[in-house]
């Protein structure tokens, strides 16, 4: 058998010699490709109505399509009138132009309602400390780090070799293999596949066996189907990073992996989701808790099956987003998704064609490969109905599989897990505080037990909260106006109230929050400057102007001559059928009160204008520069630039008391708040 170390080395060498191409060009290409693909559906979504007022008063709803009632803010219509925008005129054959005038919006002009709080910037330099040796030659790095006792606990999961069945294989399985193979195992198979591989390899029969296994599912299952034993865990403990002590920690039965690890007080909690759960009936997770790293308490989460019967060609996945915990209990965020294998529907049609794509009408089959700028020779669309996919399945897969499949579950440390009364939409930032749990969507959400949540206004009017980190008695959160711009730091109490805008002098300007999504002891920022995507696209036809600003979540229909706002909408959910009819050829607006036809915008004109808008957005250069912000108490802060943070990727920071351990790639740094 080839030497894995040699392969690793050679692949590393050759991989390093591969020129990946210009990253910025590739990034722009990704955005442009998606922009082309989603052009039509994006516009449809942009014009979804949550709140509609005709003829004067304009109301904006929050920029979130959750199932919760929208927060409405009345706004003077004059604040939304763009000044002399460049327009796209439907009647002209020349290429439409995008508008360039910024659209003042309520969201950008509102001052934060929070009071101004004070902050003390600590001038602390980090000290480089040693890296923990996990004692594995398999290349495992530290996968998690938490505060523990008077120091820090870090660890990684090491997976055991695949075991082989100890009993004799059934005769019908044995009969699938030639005698020369069976003769190698007169007393049964060895304990693991590693030994069997060595024996077969030495005999020159490994290929024979592997071909049988790959072509015969029953044989593969009989030999390779033995459940893998629980993985072993390599754990190290340190007080100050100068020395790392090995710590024995054995995962309990039923915990196959460590998707997310968190500590609260003297407890360590592990969220585990089976890695392979691509069956309709699968779904669940386990929270394993320990106080001594030896004995565990298991709490099982059983997710309900899909609401409809899914066809065989659809796999269902349940993934772990993460766990947050406090003294009283925990909240787990799980994500359910679906992956349809559309090729299974097109076995015959795809036999000699170039490829396929999925649209809202069905599956488009190309007669020749598209790519390299070439157009397909022929495109045939098979409708969902023709393919036997019922509308309810299409709706369920596309709607739920994209963003609605996230669930919160919670329990006290000795309770039975139950599902929360709220579904987080699009990944609520989630925090545990010493009073309960905080989450942010269109509003601030608080729950003492993780099950029943109550809402209150965000500290940032019409904005959003990206994430946060908690301390005794409160939390520091990162807010941003929905229209873009720099992030701002707020301090809230442990129930998310009494927000104060905190100005921290050490933070560089032009901040964008970069993580983490859940919990975490420090906040990561990117100080690179990003564009505020509030430029409106303006299309003109029949004496009306249609103005769309995706970044601000706003559109308007105005009388071009008088400037009167006829229709204005800032939300995504609602009944746009009241005033908009969307067809392949264009968009027809009517007066929702009288039903009178107002104006028709050809779709190619609208789409071309939006192309220009998003093209300009995606072509902006992106060069991140990561910083972190950490605090032990919400009053004192440490701010530091992360050396090579971009190169090394995600940064983990763990605070315990007055000490913070920061892990960036292979670099470990210790900071002291005292």
């Amino acid at each position: 058998m080839a030497n894995p170390d040699e392969i690793r080395g050679v692949l590393g060498d050759v991989g390093a010699s591969i020129e990946p191409g210009d990253m910025e060009t590739a990034r722009v290409g990704v955005h442009d490709t998606l922009r082309r693909r989603r052009r039509r559906s994006r516009v449809v979504a942009a014009l979804g109505a949550g709140v509609l007022v005709v003829g004067g008063i304009v109301a904006f709803a929050s920029f979130d399509n959750s199932d919760d009632p929208a927060t409405l803010v009345g706004v003077d219509p004059t604040t939304t009138v763009a000044s002399d925008p460049t327009t796209t005129v439907a009647d002209e054959e020349s290429a439409p132009a995008e508008a360039s005038a910024p659209m003042p919006s309520a969201t950008t002009q509102e001052e934060p309602s929070a009071a101004l709080g004070t902050a003390v910037l600590l001038d602390r330099q980090g000290t480089a400390v040693t890296s923990p040796d996990l004692g594995s030659d398999e290349g495992y790095g530290v996968q998690w780090a938490v505060p523990w006792k008077d120091g820090f606990l870090v660890g990684a999961t090491i997976y055991a070799p695949q075991p082989l069945p100890s009993e004799q294989l059934p005769d019908e399985i044995v009969a699938l293999f030639p005698d020369e193979v069976n003769d190698l195992f007169p007393d049964g198979l060895p304990p693991t596949v590693n030994e069997a591989t060595a024996i077969l390899s030495e005999a020159g029969l490994l290929n024979v066996v592997m071909e049988i296994l790959e072509s015969n599912e029953e044989a593969n299952e009989a030999i390779m189907g033995t459940p893998t034993p629980p993985p072993t865990i390599e754990v190290r403990f340190t007080v100050d990073g100068s020395t790392w002590e090995p710590v024995e920690m054995v995962l309990p039965d039923g915990v196959s992996d460590m998707q997310s690890v968190v500590s609260a007080g003297d407890r360590l909690a592990v969220l585990s989701v089976p890695p392979l759960n691509a069956t309709p009936d699968a779904g669940g997770a386990v929270v394993a808790t320990t106080t001594d790293l030896t004995t565990w308490t298991i709490q099982s989460i059983e997710m309900p099956p899909p609401a409809i019967d899914l066809p065989d060609y659809v796999d269902r996945f349940v993934g772990a987003v993460g766990i947050v915990a406090n003294e009283f209990g925990w909240v787990v965020s799980l994500h359910e998704s679906f992956e349809p294998n559309f090729e299974a529907l097109l076995t015959e049609e795809l036999g000699a064609v170039g490829g396929y794509g999925v649209s809202d009408e069905g599956i488009e089959v190309f007669s020749e490969q598209i790519g390299d700028g070439g157009a397909p020779e022929e495109v045939v669309t098979y409708s969902w109905e023709e393919l036997g996919v019922s509308p309810d399945i299409v709706e369920y897969l596309f709607r739920r599989g994209e963003g609605g499949g996230q669930q919160l579950w919670a329990a006290t440390w000795d309770g039975v897990p139950a599902r929360s009364d709220r579904n987080p939409t699009h990944g609520w930032p989630l925090l545990a505080t010493d009073s309960g749990f905080l989450a942010w969507g269109d509003q601030t959400w608080f729950s003492a037990d993780g099950l029943s949540w109550s809402a209150s206004p965000l500290p940032i009017p019409d904005g959003y909260v990206g994430g946060g980190t908690s301390f005794d008695g409160g939390a520091i959160i990162i807010g941003n106006h929905g229209s873009g711009g720099d992030d701002a730091v707020y301090r809230v109490d442990a129930s998310g109230q009494s927000a104060e805008l905190v100005e921290i002098p050490g933070l560089p300007p032009s901040l964008q929050w970069a993580g983490p999504d859940l919990g975490g002891s420090a906040l990561l920022f990117d100080s690179a400057v990003h564009p505020a995507d509030t430029t409106p696209v303006v299309v003109q036809a029949e004496g009306f102007e249609l103005i769309v600003s995706m970044g601000a979540g706003i559109y308007e229909l105005r009388d071009a001559a008088s400037g009167e706002v006829v229709i204005s909408d800032g939300a995504l959910d609602g009944d746009r059928d009241e005033y908009l009819t969307y067809g392949d050829d264009g968009w027809a607006f009517s007066n929702p009160d009288t039903g009178e036809d107002l104006v028709f915008f050809p779709s190619d004109v609208v789409n071309s204008a939006l192309d220009g808008h998003y093209g300009s957005f995606s072509s902006v250069s992106y060069e991140p520069d990561f910083w972190f912000l950490a605090t032990p108490d919400g009053e004192r802060f440490i701010v530091d630039d992360i050396e090579n943070g971009f190169e090394y990727g995600p940064v983990t920071a763990v605070v315990n008391g007055d000490t913070m351990l920061v892990f960036s790639g292979s670099d470990w740094t210790l900071y002291n708040f005292s």
């Binding site: 690793r8 991989g15 979504a45 490969q369």
Partner: protein
């Protein structure tokens, strides 16, 4: 019908979505292009596959970003895309060009890479995932959506085939 795209990035502030995705892109673009190039045996094809994977990741970023291993998801999407294109494409691929004069690429490298290209895509994808991306077998199983036992099978067979191919190549040289 409402398409999948409508409910994702449009529903959160677009700047936040893009900023988050761009961070992910910048951190993983190079390694995924290289991994897919190694697995597919063609740098240009690897770039295309990575672009396709990242595009679909951006399209579903609100979901993909929540996965425990979004990189694995992009790797699998890129492989699946390449698999469907490869068997239908008449286009000649440029191949994985190994510059033997490059200091980091010794003769043994070119030989092993040549042997690697003689494996099936299924086998190459696990070898690259295991030994280039340094994923555990369990991580590979999740990323490629195959059983852990299948990962074992493919790795074992791939390593054996590589050894035989290297031996054959040595014998011919």
């Amino acid at each position: 019908m409402t398409t999948a795209e409508e409910g994702s990035a449009d529903s959160v502030p677009w700047n936040a979505v893009v900023s988050d995705f761009d961070t992910f892109f910048a951190q993983h673009y190079t390694e995924l292009v290289r991994a897919l190039s190694l697995a597919l045996g063609d740098v240009e094809f690897g770039q295309d596959a990575a672009s396709e994977g990242f595009t679909k990741a951006l399209q579903r970023w609100s979901s993909v970003s929540q996965f425990s291993n979004p990189t694995g998801w992009v790797y699998r999407v890129g492989l699946n895309w390449a698999r469907s294109r490869r068997r239908r494409s008449r286009r000649e691929r440029t191949g994985l060009v190994v510059d033997a004069a490059a200091p980091a690429v010794a003769w043994r490298d070119a030989s092993l890479v040549a042997a690697l290209q003689q494996l099936s895509l299924d086998h190459r994808s696990v070898v690259v995932g295991r030994y280039y991306l340094d994923w555990s077998e369990a991580q590979l199983a999740t990323a490629l959506d195959i059983a852990p036992g299948t990962v074992k099978s493919r790795l074992s067979r791939a390593l054996t085939q590589l050894a035989q191919l290297l031996e054959d190549n040595h014998g011919q040289s």
